[in-house]
Amino acid sequence: MQPFTSVTGAAVPHLQANIDTDVIIRIERLTGGADLGRYAFEALRTLPDGSPNPDSVFNEPRFARAPILLAGRNFGCGSSREGAVTALMGMGFRAVIALSFGDIFFANCFRNGLLPVVLPDATLETLAAEARMGDFTVDLRSQTILTPSRNSVSFDVDALQRQGLLEGLDEIGLTLKCAGDIERWQSADRVARPWVWQTVRVVV
């Protein structure tokens, strides 16, 4: 996984609530093995005839390859598709700052090196108001966001998730070190709940 320490650059303000993972990346794009970044937010970025939507904030030249996204309530709700995270990263994003997130999307972010930050409404509005004034810096080490007007905003992040992102930790590798615990739990469970384990000879 790509570690995350800090990122500096433009922040795209798109505060609409309930931006779901179908809008972030259409499921059909996941069946084709395509470059997902090209198709991120396509329903917002393009008109039905395929031409760029001139009213979409994502098409403002100043926000091309912006690494930060400012989003609204329940960002990434809906489907569990991890392609939503890879599509955003393919488009250039490294951090998403929102009012709240869909749970599965939020978990998927940490497994891929995309930093999700939750901020209250008023703070997010302040950041959005500065979006066209210059670059932001999001720093995970100090847990702060520096705005173009040099305001510093701090944010909370779970300690283990923070460490995982900073170090690019391999969770599977960490858990495999607990193999003894897993073995002991399973041995006891085979005795306590044998019906869970009797699957192999079942005829449907």
């Binding site: 809906g78 749970d103 897993i182 019906w195």
Partner: protein, 465 residues
């Protein structure tokens, strides 16, 4: 100390406390489908790791298979590669794969309960957000991304933080034409699509206790549309009767032993929840969505809401954008809105009881001219049972297309789409922009309301049919 149903299952599955509020949680069942299964299996193979417990893992193709009558795995070309990959990787890893056309194949959240693969007190995951459906049997079931799926394949565990707890009591008896789908849509409209973010939701109350398992599966299916990690219902006699005799359920003396354990799975009196909601079921009427979020619900006898009714500017903008996408005017009665497509299917509403209810209304009626209406059974078993009862004939005689089991038009990842600008009434669970195809306009509703729309050619109050 009193504990909730959720806490009892959670506590029993903690393999190790990882500190900082994190637990290593054992996963009893892992289901793989054709979209999310192959990348997770490929990731484990890339790392040259073995699948830890292949006998606890099961695979089925549903998302990217065609539902066309007479289909094969090759009918939808992009899907055929995914089908082949899932079948091949599953065989290589000794994971049970349920083939197309064979018993066991179906929408992953329909076939799991149907086969008795999911049982009370289990933990279950799948790379699919509607895994929460399975909580209806008293299991702790939730959707995960590919990375967590790979983690579970390699370790049979997940690193998890305990969610907050919410309880929703559905009390009272539903009125005429009101189904479990109406109850859950009503709830989402009332408290919002993010109301249960970070929560496990237990559904309780007299309406849940009186509800058959298939209705409970519909309720739990839309938990993720409330933002919840999972939804669950305490197992009871209804649950045990449903499970008895299912292929993967225990048999004989072992079944009785399991039931004795399952009877301990309920929320203790005085156990605490972070949030509680009560829904007066008698006050719910047949419900549809008007917009592009499952929280955009309304009574079928109501008028489309106005953005001006919203005090929050972002909400106002979202309402206006939704109305524009849906081609609706604020203030217009929703009933009478012309419909082009009707889809009866999906993991929300494609089980035998859904199709019986739909067929009972379709019998002796006919799909309106210019309406395309599909019925897609949720599984091979549902299809065979329906055909044995003659439901397929009723649907065909009424002008519906009777199709093969799969996700079909709910997910539009299989070559099947509602055309741009067309208006669909769908028994599925998501009315997102472009969900049923780019530009498609989706109204979520119950199977009964879907039939009412199909035969009248417009959104219609099923109570007036």
């Amino acid at each position: 100390m009193p504990r909730t149903l959720f806490e009892k299952i959670w506590d029993a599955h903690v393999v190790r406390d990882l500190g900082g509020g994190w637990s290593l949680l054992h996963i009893d069942r892992h289901l793989l489908h054709d979209l999310s299964g192959p990348p997770a299996l490929a990731e484990v193979a890339r790392r040259k790791l073995p699948i830890r417990d292949p006998e606890l893992t099961f695979a089925v193709a549903d998302h990217a298979v065609s539902s066309a009558p007479g289909r094969t795995a090759q009918t939808f070309e992009l899907g055929s590669r995914l089908y082949g990959a899932l079948e091949h990787l599953a065989a290589k890893e000794h994971i049970r794969f349920f083939e197309l056309g064979q018993k066991g194949q179906g929408i992953v959240h329909v076939m799991g309960p149907e086969l008795g693969l999911v049982l009370p007190g289990m933990t279950l995951i799948c790379g699919d957000s509607h895994t929460c459906t399975n909580g209806a049997l008293g299991a702790l079931a939730f959707g995960v991304g590919n990375s967590e799926s790979a983690h579970a394949l390699a370790t049979q565990t997940l690193r998890q933080q305990k969610p907050r707890l919410m309880r929703v009591c559905f009390d009272g008896s539903p009125g005429q034409g009101v189904t479990p789908k109406d109850l859950i849509l009503h709830l989402i409209g009332k408290i919002g699509a993010a109301a249960a973010a970070g929560c496990a939701v237990e559904y309780a109350g007299s309406a849940i206790r009186a509800m058959p398992v298939e209705g409970r599966l519909t309720i739990c299916n839309l938990s993720v549309e409330l933002g919840a990690k999972c939804g669950l219902i305490a197992p009871d006699e209804t649950t045990f009767a449903y499970l008895r005799g299912r292929p993967f359920a225990p048999r004989g003396e072992m079944f009785e032993r399991a039931v004795a354990h399952w009877r301990t799975l309920y929320t203790d009196d005085d156990a605490g929840f972070d949030r509680e909601e009560i829904v007066d079921v008698a006050g719910v009427v047949p419900t549809v969505t008007w917009g592009t979020s499952p929280e955009h619900t309304m009574s079928i006898d109501g008028a489309v809401p106005s953005p001006a009714s919203q005090s929050d500017p972002e909400r106002r903008k979202a309402f206006a954008a939704a109305l524009d996408y849906m081609g609706l005017q604020a203030g217009q009665p929703i009933a009478g809105t012309k419909v082009d497509w009707v889809f009866i299917g999906s993991c929300a509403n494609s089980r035998l009881s859904d199709l019986r209810e739909a067929a009972a209304l379709a019998r002796g009626r006919h799909v309106a001219p210019d309406v395309t209406a599909w019925v897609v059974p949720g599984s091979e078993q549902v299809k065979r049972d329906s055909e044995a009862e003659g439901l397929d004939t009723i649907f065909r005689d009424a002008g519906f297309e009777w199709r093969e089991p799969g996700c079909s038009l709910c997910v539009a990842a299989n070559g099947e789409r509602v055309p741009p600008g067309a208006r669909a009434v769908s028994t599925s669970n998501r009315n997102f922009v472009g969900r049923q195809g780019p530009g498609a306009r989706t109204h979520l509703a119950s199977p009964a309301m879907a039939v009412a729309a199909a035969v009248t050619g417009a959104l219609c109050d099923v109570r007036k049919l």
